[in-house]
C-alpha cells in the first residue's frame, strides 16, 4: 500500500554545483536513454539522498500502515474476510521488507532506518495515523487508500533507480489482490442493509480529507522538483497523481450511490486524445 505523496522540500539543489560535470552528464544521459541506475553506478549526492528518503518513507508507511488493518483481523466479518485481511496485512509488511532492502542498496543500514522511525526522525504517510472506528473504515483503507498507493507505485515503478523499480514491480503484482478485495468488501456494504450503507458513508466522510492529503500538497514547480523529475525520482506532480486517482475512483464511488464530501467535485467533459471522457472536475478544494 501507501507510497503516499512525497514532500521534497528541505533539500537544497546547491550540492549539484559541486558534482563532477562529466560524471553528472553521463548519469543524466543514462537516465535519458531509459537505462536504470544501479547501486554501483556513480550518482549525485542529491539523487542518493532523495531516494533514500523516499524509499525509506515508503517502507515505513507499509509497516505502520499495516497496523490499523491488523487490528481488524479478529473482528473482520466472517472467516473468509479474516483470511483475506490477514493475507493482505502480511503482504504489506512484506512490502516494507522489500523496500528496506531497496533503500539499503543506497548505503543506509536497515537498523538505522528503523531507529529513525522509532525516534521520529523519519516521516511516513500521515494517512496511516487515522483511527479505524468501524469495519467500514477498514474497507475504505483496503479499497481506496490502496488504490491511491497503486497510482503512485505504478508511476514510481517507471523511475530510474533499478532496485526500487524491481521492488515496486513485485509490490504492484500483490496490490491487485488488495484492490479487488477492498472493492468486494465495499460492494457488500453498499448492497447491504441501510445500516451498512450508512457505516460506509460515514467512513467515507471521515477518510476523504486525509485521502486527498495523501497525495501531498500542490507542487510549486521549483528548480528542485524539475531536477528530480528529470532524474526520474519524481514521476509526476502530486496534483497529477491526485487527479488520476479522482478520475479512476470517483465514478466507482458514485456508482455505489455514495456521496463525496467535496461540493466542488463535479462531472466534466474533457477531451483526452480525441475522445470525450467523463472526468472529474479539477477545481478541487484540496
Amino acid at each position: 500500500m501507501y507510497g503516499g505523496g512525497n514532500t521534497f522540500e528541505g533539500i537544497k539543489t546547491d550540492s549539484i554545483a559541486t558534482e563532477d560535470p562529466t560524471k553528472l552528464a553521463e548519469f543524466e544521459a543514462r537516465i535519458e536513454r531509459g537505462e536504470k541506475i544501479e547501486p554501483a553506478d556513480w550518482m549525485p549526492q542529491l539523487y542518493r539522498k532523495q531516494l533514500i528518503r523516499m524509499i525509506e518513507q515508503h517502507a515505513h508507511s507499509e509497516i505502520i500502515g499495516a497496523l490499523p488493518e491488523g487490528t481488524w483481523i479478529t473482528r473482520a466479518p466472517g472467516f473468509k474476510r479474516k483470511m483475506s485481511l490477514m493475507a493482505k496485512v502480511q503482504d504489506e509488511v512484506g512490502h516494507g521488507q522489500l523496500l528496506y532492502s531497496a533503500a539499503e542498496t543506497l548505503g543506509k543500514p536497515r537498523e538505522q532506518m528503523i531507529e529513525d522511525l522509532i525516534n521520529g526522525k523519519s516521516k511516513y504517510s500521515n494517512i496511516v495515523n487515522y483511527p479505524t472506528f468501524t469495519w467500514a473504515d477498514c474497507c475504505f483503507i483496503s479499497w481506496l487508500v490502496d488504490a491511491g498507493a497503486i497510482v503512485n507505485q505504478l508511476a514510481n515503478a517507471k523511475g530510474s533507480y533499478g532496485p526500487y523499480c524491481r521492488a515496486l514491480d513485485r509490490i504492484c503484482a500483490e496490490e491487485s489482490f488488495h484492490l479487488k478485495y477492498g472493492h468486494h468488501c465495499v460492494i457488500y456494504l453498499a448492497s447491504g442493509t441501510p445500516k451498512q450503507r450508512q457505516m460506509f458513508q460515514e467512513a467515507l466522510n471521515r477518510w476523504w480529507p486525509p485521502m486527498m492529503h495523501f497525495f501531498g500538497p500542490s507542487d510549486k514547480i521549483s528548480a528542485h522538483t524539475e531536477v528530480l523529475m528529470r532524474w526520474k525520482v519524481k514521476m509526476g506532480t502530486n496534483d497529477e497523481m491526485r487527479n488520476q486517482f479522482l478520475d479512476m475512483y470517483v465514478p466507482k464511488i458514485w456508482e455505489l450511490g455514495f456521496t463525496i464530501p467535496d461540493p466542488k467535485l463535479k462531472r466534466v467533459k474533457r477531451q483526452v486524445s480525441g475522445n470525450t471522457l467523463n472526468l472529474i472536475g479539477k477545481n478541487l478544494s484540496a
Partner: protein, 204 residues
C-alpha cells in the same frame, strides 16, 4: 551477559550498570536470494534478506520473495561468498577486465557463474565451472561460458556455500494453490454490483 540471536535481548539494559550510550548497530548480516521463475529456467538474483544464519535466511527469503506463484525454487548464500568482477558499460565486456590466472591446474572446487547481460536487469545463472578459487573460476568461465555477447558483470559463488532447495523443501509451496483468497480473481463482485445497480434503478 545475556547472549541471544534476538538482538533485542542483547540490548536489554544490564542491572547495576552505569549510564552509557546505546550499543552501535548490531544488525544481522545479509544473504543474497536467487529464484527460479519456472521449471527449466535459470536462477536469477532477486535481492537480499537479513538473517542470523544461512538456514533462517532461506526461510525469510521464502517469505519475502515467493509469496505468490512467482517461482518454483530458490536458494540463498551469504553475501560475503559472492565474488564480483569489475562492472562495465557500452561495448566493454567485463571478461576483458579479468586478470589472467597464474595457475593452470584444473580446479577441484565447483563454482556457480552469473552474468549481468543487460544493465538494469538481474544477474542470471549461466553455468558451473571447476576451479581452485573465485578468480580462476572467472578465467575458466571466460573460456567456457563466454558467448561473445557483452557481459557487464560476472559473479562467482562456490557451490558448496549455497543453501539449495531440497526435494522435501518443495512442500513449502504445496499449499499455495489452495490459498485462492490471496488472488485478485477470487473477488468477483460483478454480479452483486449488477444486481445492486438494477435494484436501485427501479427505485429511482
Amino acid at each position: 551477559m545475556l547472549n541471544s540471536l534476538d538482538p533485542r535481548v542483547n540490548r536489554l539494559p544490564q542491572i547495576n550498570q552505569s549510564i552509557s550510550p546505546k550499543a552501535p548497530l548490531d544488525q544481522f548480516g545479509t544473504f543474497e536470494v536467487f529464484v527460479q521463475p519456472k521449471e527449466g529456467k535459470s536462477f536469477q538474483h532477486e535481492g537480499i534478506v537479513h538473517a542470523p544464519n544461512l538456514e533462517l535466511a532461506y526461510v525469510l527469503a521464502k517469505e519475502a520473495f515467493t509469496r505468490r506463484f512467482t517461482c518454483v525454487s530458490l536458494y540463498v548464500v551469504d553475501t560475503r561468498e559472492v565474488f564480483v568482477s569489475p562492472m562495465t558499460e557500452g561495448n566493454n565486456n567485463a571478461y576483458d577486465l579479468i586478470p589472467e590466472s597464474t595457475t593452470s591446474t584444473p580446479g577441484n572446487q565447483s563454482f556457480e557463474i552469473y552474468h549481468l547481460a543487460k544493465r538494469g536487469k538481474q544477474h542470471v545463472h549461466v553455468g558451473t565451472v571447476a576451479a581452485n578459487n573465485p578468480e580462476e573460476a572467472m578465467v575458466h568461465a571466460r573460456e567456457k561460458l563466454n558467448t561473445g555477447k557483452i557481459v557487464f558483470n560476472v559473479w562467482a559463488i562456490a557451490t558448496e556455500a549455497i543453501r539449495f532447495t531440497s526435494e522435501e523443501d518443495k512442500e513449502l509451496w504445496l499449499t499455495l494453490p489452495e490459498k485462492k483468497f490471496r488472488d485478485a480473481s477470487d473477488y468477483k463482485g460483478g454480479d452483486k454490483l449488477k444486481n445492486f445497480l438494477e435494484r436501485t434503478k427501479i427505485n429511482h
